[in-house]
């Protein structure tokens, strides 16, 4: 009985200390996006694309959806790499998942058309 009490108190305390599962998981997002920001060469582009694909396909966050901005920036990087159709498709996926993005996605699509 005492043991049960002790265990339940301990579990409760740990529960209040541990951080919850994050809304989204991001893989190697930070370092690969830094390298791309810094170098924008073939290697850093390829690595960033792999990171985006990983975030999309192996998402383990508590919301179970792709984080804000990932489809959009992935699309943008594809556009920079002259993969126009693929890039546009990704931008539109962002709008479907996050309708609040429509305003600036439309703006980027317009910049591309120019």
């Amino acid at each position: 009985m005492k043991k049960t009490l002790f265990i339940s108190i301990t579990v409760l305390m740990f529960a209040s200390c541990t951080t919850q599962k994050p809304l989204y998981t991001w893989g190697k997002y930070e370092i690969t996006s830094y390298n791309y920001l810094k170098n924008s060469d073939e290697k850093s582009t390829q690595e960033l694309i792999e990171t985006y694909q990983n975030i999309i396909e192996k998402q383990k966050g508590s919301r179970g959806v792709v984080p804000p901005g990932i489809y959009a920036d992935y699309g943008f990087v594809l556009l920079q790499a002259n993969k126009t159709e693929e890039g546009k498709a990704m931008l539109l996926k962002e709008v479907t998942l996050y309708p609040e993005s429509k305003i600036f996605i439309d703006r980027i699509l317009k910049i591309i058309e120019e």
Binding site: M13, L23, W26, E30, S33, L37, R63, P68, R107, I108
Partner: protein, 231 residues
């Protein structure tokens, strides 16, 4: 009897490690955010006033994760960078004290996050990085500051292998050497952002949205010792 005492002591130790000393509730400290219920956040390019030219990019690449994970929609950074450049608005310093309504029109943003890196100093021998960074979040609608915190952060970049004694220390030095500089410094910025935004009100995509107002806000001006293990 002994058992009960033990439980109390352990409980005390646990609770003291969890609580913060700041007594102000988030709903009071960050009232503007709770009133406005913002969704969309624009990250302004960090302002670098330190002597380290690289530090701007370290912060730029690491700001969106803690804010998105708090439940907000963060405008994608590469896209916003492109648009800001096209609109000749890439220098955030120019907008720190001026109306932000244009950013509402262009991006549909509710809040703008300014990051000012005041100091970024390295000490070679001890593998430590000292950062002073100020975060200012402004409402795009009212131009009011709705959140601000300034941190003096000491980041210990030596990677601990966990092994003790003289051999452990040698192993630590070797382990630090394989840590590439970029990875290390990106992690310094990551830790600063993660620590600071721990007390950010929950955004609309968070399960605690609207119910976290009673939790304590962090100190406006704080000191922290961080390392790569800080999450």
């Amino acid at each position: 009897m002994k058992n009960i005492l033990l439980i109390i002591v352990i409980a005390g130790a646990f609770f003291s490690s969890c609580t913060t000393t700041a007594p102000i509730a988030k709903s009071v400290a960050y009232k503007g955010i709770y009133d406005e219920k913002p969704l969309t956040i624009l990250l302004m390019p960090p302002i670098n006033r330190s002597t380290n030219v690289e530090s701007k990019e370290y912060f730029h690449s690491t700001l969106n994760i803690p804010i998105a994970n708090a439940g907000f929609y963060v405008i994608p950074t590469f896209l916003s960078m492109e648009i800001l450049k096209k609109e000749s608005a890439y220098d955030a310093e120019l907008f720190l004290n001026s109306p932000l309504t244009k950013f509402g029109e262009v991006f549909g943003a509710d809040l703008a996050v300014f990051t000012i890196i005041h100091k970024w100093d390295k000490s070679g021998l001890a593998a430590k990085v000292y950062v002073q960074v100020e975060y200012i979040i402004k409402s795009i609608k009212t131009n009011e500051i709705v959140y601000t915190r300034t941190g003096d952060v000491t980041y210990d970049a030596s990677v601990s292998t966990g092994a003790g004694g003289a051999w452990g220390a040698l192993a630590d030095i070797a382990a630090s050497a394989i840590n590439t500089a970029a990875t290390k410094y990106v992690d310094v910025a990551r830790a600063c952002n993660a620590y600071t935004f721990k007390d950010l009100p929950a955004g609309k995509y968070s399960p605690t949205y609207g119910t976290d107002g009673e939790l304590p806000a962090g100190k406006k001006i704080f000191k922290a010792n961080l390392n790569s293990k800080y999450r």
